[in-house]
Amino acid sequence: MIRAAVLAAALVALPAHAQFNFDLNRAIESVRKLGRATTEIDEKQEIEIGRDMAARLLGAAPLVNDARLQRYVNNVGRWLASQTERPGLPWRFGVLDAPQVNAFAVPGGTIFVTRGLVQRMRSEAELAGVLAHEIGHVLKKHHLKAIQKGAQAELAGEALSMAMRDSNSEARAKLVRFGSEIYSRGLDKSDELEADRLGVVIGSRGGYDAYGLPAVLQMLQAMNAQDSAVALMFKTHPAPAERLDALTEKMQPTLDAYAAQPSVVERFRQALQPK
């Protein structure tokens, strides 16, 4: 409690008065000496770090230049996000102009899906299943926890505190870089399987055919793992067959209970038609 109060006081004082720098450093130093340097990332910081990470992904691939498609995907995604325990996040959805097959969740509620993946889908329920899987990562803070874990190893308490506080700091750049590396390295397998279960749950909550996500996984399973279009996605996720087995084992009752909900094929086809 005392630690929190000292830190809070120092943080409030900092932006207005640079001379408090010294006090802040002393406060952090004393916290560190106690061996209890805080590494908690609150929701505001989660959103800020997520924006930086999203900007970097958009630097690797821009949005598909199709306002109608982008609004369509935002409507589907926002509807699903409203069915979750974090409806108040600034949810944003984007289709990246990349031929590869992949999707990404960014802390704070930004979700990307690639053109290559969307073009291989056959219904809105399939899109919903994929978006719901990514929403699941955000709800469970999978990337954020991985960042926290890595940051603790890479940045000392003081630098981490700086990364949180100052969006222009070198420490923040390092944190964002580390966060972006997760997209090449992948999360824990258990995180992916949990997101798959949530993909079925949240898609069903939105009123969609519960088999949307399994259908996409089957489509992926039919693709050659050596194909460069899926190389990164396959490297960073469990094999589709394993994911399907895990869903069959854990989710069969849910899948069957909501299998008859709409797939919404026609609206999906129209949204994908070239402008």
Binding site: A60, N74, Q83, S184, V201, A222, A231
Partner: protein
């Protein structure tokens, strides 16, 4: 650019997908457990998958047609071992007439491009503008007769 689009559309046009059943499965006349059984398919029976409806996939197997549980199917890759064409396109695009590497923008998202990416604040701003409000999204869902239901997260 056109070539890429055509290549990406190919899998969509495929009518029958080769697959196999991963366990002994009943081939049903209709997509329902209580529908009459057309045939008993032993484990590993090869089938052609034709379409999906909910948890069921319509297949052609051993001269008969019917529905099997979708999750009883695994798609086979024989004949699909090739590339979807991305690597070839990149190779051509990146070599160019001078032999020097050219950045084409179609490279897209691989580990390398993500690692080397610079922030693109303009695109981020564009994305904010496409955001949907909860109310708009609810109206959008209603248009397709989607109804929110309470579904528990499995423990």
């Amino acid at each position: 650019m056109k070539a890429i689009c055509i290549l990406l559309l190919l899998p969509l046009l495929a009518w029958a997908e080769p697959a196999a059943v991963i366990r002994a499965t009943e081939l049903k006349k209709d997509p329902a457990t209580d529908a009459p059984t057309v045939a008993e398919l032993p484990e590993s029976t090869s089938v052609d998958a034709l379409e999906r409806r909910g948890g069921w996939t319509r297949v052609r197997a051993a001269g008969a047609e019917g529905w099997v549980k979708m999750l009883a199917l695994r798609y086979g890759t024989p004949g699909r071992q090739g590339e979807s064409g991305l690597a070839q396109i990149f190779n051509v695009a990146r070599t160019g007439s001078s032999g020097a590497q050219v950045t084409t923008g179609v490279r897209g998202l691989d580990a390398e491009s993500i690692a080397g990416a610079q922030p693109n604040p303009a695109e981020l701003q564009k994305m904010q503008a496409y955001a949907a409000t909860p109310d708009a999204a609810a109206a959008f869902a209603a248009q397709a007769k989607l109804q929110a239901v309470a579904v528990e997260e499995p423990q």
